[in-house]
């Protein structure tokens, strides 16, 4: 493709994370290229979510650093990291269960437009037409528009996840982290989500996706890193990884 193919936006640099005696992450180096979808796969407990937690500032790494677009993320607050353009869909949906679906999606848009602090006490939500229209549009994209008035807590697990995706997309993040974005979804909804993620890729959004569903991984990923017991044991384009014997042993072949 073009010349800036190797423009790396996210560097994970020699990150270690221990919980007591447990090495959840060891020697992790990762380079995610701009506009690409980087999948991280691996068996349960491999440390995939822990890696995302380190990136978004939920966990501080024991050593090592994360650099996003020239800025060191390590040590920053989660809201600061988000303000730099990093959004995340969590493995267990993190939503506002007591708010209507529409407001769930609108809230992050205010953070994007106004920054982390600005207090709009004297404005009426009803006048926020631009944000509301975009939220409704996204809800149509993820197939939840009919449920926009329902309390988010009443949604099914799969629907919560799709809503959380809309909550992230409304921010137009530069880097989107997806922790099993299709878990709990029907085949049909999974396919819709894949299509949606392909669409946002066309807009140049960089993504890291954790997924157990190989159909999803191979439909979306440009590059795959395989994590097992806290270490990256293989990395490369989907075809190479699929045929890597170490991967078959540690993960894919585990089913044999």
């Amino acid at each position: 493709m073009s010349t800036n193919v190797h423009n790396v936006v996210l560097h994970v640099d020699d990150v270690h994370k221990t919980f007591g005696g447990l090495h959840a992450l060891a020697d992790i180096d990762l380079a995610v290229e701009e506009g690409k979808t980087h999948a991280i796969i691996g068996p349960n407990g491999a440390g995939k979510s822990t890696l995302l937690n380190v990136i978004v500032g939920r966990l501080a790494p024991t050593s090592g650093a994360v650099v996003f677009d020239g800025q060191v993320l390590t040590g920053k607050q989660p809201y600061e990291i988000n303000q730099l353009g990093v959004a995340r869909v969590f493995q267990t949906p993190e939503i506002f269960p007591d708010l209507p679906v529409l407001h769930n999606v609108m809230t992050p848009a205010f953070a994007k437009r106004d920054g982390a602090y600005k207090l709009h006490i004297w404005e009426n939500l009803l006048d926020e037409k631009t944000i509301q229209e975009e939220a409704e549009h996204l809800l149509q994209d993820v197939g939840l528009w009919e449920r926009r008035m329902d309390h988010a807590g009443a949604l099914s697990r799969g629907d919560k996840r799709r809503m959380e995706l809309a909550m992230c997309l409304i921010q137009h993040p530069r880097l989107l982290l997806l922790d099993e974005p299709t878990a709990g979804m029907s085949r049909h909804d999974t396919n819709t989500t894949i299509e949606l993620l392909k669409k946002v890729k066309e807009r140049g959004m960089t993504k890291i996706i954790i997924e157990h569903d190989m159909h999803v991984v191979f439909s979306l990923a440009d590059k795959i890193s395989v994590l097992a017991q806290g270490r990256i044991i293989a990395e490369g384009n989907p075809e190479d990884v699929r045929n890597d014997p170490k991967v078959k042993e540690a993960y894919l072949g585990g089913a044999h």
């Binding site: 939503i95 007591d98 205010f110 953070a111 602090y117």
Partner: protein, 406 residues
């Protein structure tokens, strides 16, 4: 209108009407009827309805929206009262400078207490606010006696300078000569309605601060406060620093409390430390929960309910009961009085406690939830599953979504 939707404007007008008509609405029983003692349309009580309504409206902005339960808001009530009495002592009996001072000072206090207390959440936050309030209460009796006059309470003496007192200035609380305690009694048939200056002064202020609370509820700021209540973590990962939002909510509710405290002293030129006691902090919590935390009207109704109980129920003593049941045969009468008397008169708190328990268990949304349930019994259920076409929907969507339980 006024930055509100048509529906909210109507709601505000309705509330305004109720507030202004209170002296009539609370006087439903003719003077000569035996139920006249249930009338609540006398100045002192109506002023309390409005003042504690303001206190609860402000408290609700913090507790109802964000879920942070402060147990120390009475401290701001105290600050407000002392501010007003001090302006009486130094300037004059005009209440306006004092009320402004009350709002400013309680805001500064709240900024400090909030800054420290909001480092923790949940029960630790509650305990920190309680500790601050108790500290203020104790200081008012000890080190701060030069400012608070200790146990006697702060009041105006003839020797006070009162630099702004002119020749004709009234020597009771007033607004540019309009004396708070002045009333006009209007007899209509067997009813007597009392229109009191102090009540209307507090009522106008109450309507105004209710309007501000309505605006906050409908604003993006209000949305973020609600989001804090339901999932604070998510907000952090969505790019919001929740601290300034929490602190702003805390300071605003502190200023409401300061205003309420100031108004107490504007109606009655006294300030005592007992206003800052933890029971007073607990009372506003009860009012808000009883009425319905997070709803606009709930806290006001809760405040009215509790003040009504405190003032009306407490007056039903055994003599009154004897009057009521006088016509019954003696054993029946004694039996009834025996059963009822523990719950009325001095026992009003027992009744209130039981009611509170019943509400929390069966109506967690408070009086407002009860009203809604009764309302929905009469109203036909609106058809669900709005398959309405997309173009028209956005407005309609926002219209409903902005009204979380009135």
């Amino acid at each position: 209108m006024l930055g509100l939707s048509a529906k909210d404007t109507g709601f505000l007008l309705f509330v305004t009407f109720l507030t202004l008509a209170t002296p009539i609405l609370l006087q439903p029983f003719p003077e000569s009827s035996s139920l006249a003692q249930f009338n609540a349309g006398y100045p002192d009580l109506m002023q309390r309805f409005a003042i504690f309504g303001i206190f609860a409206i402000g408290f609700n902005i913090l507790f109802g929206l964000t879920g942070y339960l402060s147990f120390g808001h009475a401290a701001f009530l105290g600050v407000g009262s002392y501010s007003v009495v001090w302006t009486y002592k130094l300037l004059s009996f005009n209440v306006l400078p004092g009320l402004i001072l009350a709002i400013v000072l309680s805001g500064i206090f709240a900024l400090f207490i909030g800054f420290v207390s909001l480092r923790r959440s949940g029960i630790y936050f509650s305990i920190l606010t309680l500790a601050f309030a108790q500290m203020s209460y104790n200081l008012a009796y000890s080190v701060l006696t030069p400012l608070t006059n200790g146990e006697t309470g702060l009041q105006v003496y003839g020797s006070d300078p009162q630099y702004l007192m002119g020749e004709g200035s009234p020597d009771v609380p007033n607004l540019f000569g309009l004396v708070m305690q002045d009333s006009m009694k209007v007899p209509v048939g067997d009813w007597v309605f009392t229109f009191n200056v102090g009540y209307y002064f507090t009522a106008v202020i109450a309507i105004f601060v209710f309007y501000i609370s309505l605006r906050i509820f409908r604003s993006p700021f209000g949305l973020i406060l609600r989001a804090i209540k339901t999932n604070r973590t998510r907000l952090n990962y969505a790019g919001i620093n929740t601290r300034p939002y929490m602190l702003a909510a805390f300071v605003i509710s502190g200023m409401y409390a300061g205003l309420a405290g100031g108004l107490l002293a504007a109606m009655d030129p006294l300030a005592g430390a007992e206003r800052m006691q933890w029971t007073a902090s607990g009372e506003v919590v009860l009012m808000t929960i009883l009425g319905g935390a997070g709803t606009l009207m709930g806290p006001v109704l809760g405040a009215g309910f509790i003040k009504y109980f405190e003032n009306i129920f407490s007056k039903i003593n055994e003599t009154v009961l004897h009057d009521w049941f006088g016509a019954l045969p003696e054993p029946v009468r004694d039996f009834l009085i025996g059963i009822i008397s523990p719950f009325v008169g001095d026992g009003w708190q027992l009744t209130l406690g039981l009611l509170f328990m019943l509400v929390v268990i069966f109506l967690p949304g408070g009086i407002m939830e009860g009203a809604k349930r009764i309302g929905s019994l009469f109203r036909r259920k609106p058809s669900q599953g709005g398959g309405s076409p997309a173009p028209k929907a956005p407005v309609e969507a926002a219209e409903t979504s902005n009204q979380p339980a009135e």
